[in-house]
């Protein structure tokens, strides 16, 4: 077959199942994908350039827009940089508050993914079910932080104010437990869903490692790597990273559902810690006129979409000399070149969706 017979197809950037503005340039031979070239940058906001212009406190409100579904993680990364640079230790209660909110955020993010993924595959109602539960989390965020999504709640050296109404979270966890069973009943026994995901988009271990894929996608390929196990905030917490061997889209879906349970466990432990430590005890850093000592600082965390990290080089001024974000989705988009090659067009959406790509994180 010569190249002239190939059909070039633009998937996106406005396609609803690309979760933002991802454009995939596919070359098709019949229905088979011969090559895939991702085109990104439609949502580029110059996050790294912006950092070099603004002081730390001016820049801080923008960081949770890198991934609007998991904003707390990026706030945490940026605060961690400042805290590391100025050697500020967090109190037990502040740590517990952060873990509680991070894990709630992870649940919210995974819930949205489950709904949106099922919608990609043509099932409309799960979207409403998962959004119903996610709404409870967002309501709680609104109560605590004043915002539903871009919370800006962690501040340098602590949190903006103390947390309250923990009963809401406990109540939510009870609701979620029963709802997860409902999701499993409605989704896991659906023959259409199973046919479209089982054995599709197989991601081999070495391909995943080579492509710097982290997070749920890597663990679903059988690698036990969860950066929470070595993170300072999660010290003293017990949980088991979900490692499964299936490597296909279905395994990645199952891994995310199982992670909901693990996150619930972590939240329960955080609530226990909150009950033990009632004093907030935080040493806040004065953000106005804040200068970091010259040097290089690095922080990383396991975000819902894989390893996220922040690197800052400071030359002693009130602005970073260079700031770099690492996000999980960026490498997942890069992986699509390999993963979609040789598959059929009607599987492309199922495979691309299963990697949980979000575009603001890619475009930065």
């Amino acid at each position: 077959m010569t190249n002239t017979n190939l059909l070039k197809l633009n998937l996106g950037p406005q396609h609803p199942s690309t979760h933002g503005v991802l454009r995939l340039i596919l070359e098709l031979d019949g229905e088979k994908i011969v090559s895939c070239k991702p085109d990104v940058g439609y949502l580029h906001r110059g996050m790294e350039k912006m950092a070099e212009r603004l002081s730390y406190v001016q820049y801080y409100p923008t960081v949770d827009r890198i991934d609007y579904l998991a904003g707390f993680f990026y706030s945490e990364l940026f605060c961690e940089i400042i805290e590391k640079a100025l050697n500020v230790e967090l109190s037990e209660r502040v740590k517990a508050i952060r873990v509680l909110l991070l894990e709630l955020n992870r649940i919210a993010s995974h819930l949205l993914w489950i709904g949106a993924y099922l919608m990609d595959l043509g099932a409309v109602s799960p979207f409403f079910y998962t959004f119903r539960e996610r709404e409870l989390i967002l309501k709680y965020f609104e109560k605590i932080t004043g915002q539903r999504m871009m919370n800006n709640y962690f501040i340098f050296g602590g949190v903006r104010r103390d947390i309250f109404d923990i009963e809401d979270v406990e109540e939510f966890l009870e609701i979620l437990k029963t709802k997860i069973k409902d999701y499993e009943r409605i989704i896991d026994s659906n023959p259409i869903f199973l046919q479209r995901t089982k054995g599709k988009g197989v991601l081999e271990q070495n391909v995943a490692l080579n492509g710097a894929i982290t997070g749920v996608n890597l663990r679903a390929s059988g690698v036990n790597l969860d950066f929470r196990t070595k993170h300072k905030l999660y010290e003293g917490y017990e949980f088991t990273p979900i490692v499964s061997e299936g490597k296909d889209c279905y395994t990645r879906y199952r891994a995310r559902v199982l992670e909901l349970n693990e996150s619930s466990k972590l939240i329960k432990q955080a609530i226990e810690k909150l009950k033990q430590n009632s004093a907030l005890n935080q040493t806040l850093i004065q953000p106005i006129g804040l200068k970091l000592p010259a040097g290089e600082f690095y922080s990383e965390i396991e975000a819902p979409r894989g390893l996220a990290s922040c690197y800052v080089k400071s030359d002693g001024e009130n602005k970073p000399y260079r700031l770099k974000w690492r996000t999980g989705s960026y490498y997942a988009v890069n992986l699509l070149r390999k993963l979609l090659k040789g598959t059929y067009l009607n599987d492309a959406i199922a495979i691309a969706g299963s990697l949980d790509i979000i575009l603001p994180e890619v475009d930065k």
Binding site: G46, L209, A212, S309, Y311, Y321, R322, V333, N334
Partner: protein, 139 residues
């Protein structure tokens, strides 16, 4: 892996803080670390414009040892691609080409990533001037 051990293997390298500074042979040393010491994830490549030259830092990670190692090199205009060794480097190198203008040899996927086709200059360079006419639409 012990950094001293690495230094013994690659004589020309220099220890600086937690980084290993290499003068050349980036691809060869990365491949060596990957094959012999299990550093099989390239977490990211960080580029920094030091005004005189561009600093490239390769942050490698070994899942077995749970350890990072950073290999640093200084380049001007052109650098050796490691995309044949780590597939993720294709993405990093594309980004560095777009934002810093470093050309990676043997990476045939280099093109504008975030910036539109035909954009002048590379935004994260310290000598970047915002003189593109498209920025003046509001005047």
């Amino acid at each position: 892996m012990n950094i001293i051990e690495f230094k013994n293997l690659f004589g020309e390298s220099e220890l600086f803080g937690e980084k290993i500074i290499m003068k050349s042979d980036i691809a060869k040393s990365l491949q060596f670390l990957k094959e012999n010491y299990g550093y099989n994830i390239l977490k990211e490549i960080i580029a920094i414009d030091n005004r005189d030259d561009i600093e490239l830092s390769y942050r490698l990670y070994s899942p077995d040892d749970d350890e990072d190692v950073i290999i640093t090199t200084f380049v001007k205009g052109e650098a050796e691609s490691v995309s044949k060794i780590f597939d993720s480097a294709v993405a990093d190198e594309k980004e560095i080409f777009d934002l810093f203008g470093i050309k990676f040899t043997c990476n045939d996927e280099l093109e504008r990533l975030y910036m539109p086709e035909g954009w002048k200059g590379h935004p994260l360079r310290k000598n970047y001037e915002e003189n593109d006419e498209r920025l003046k639409w509001n005047d």
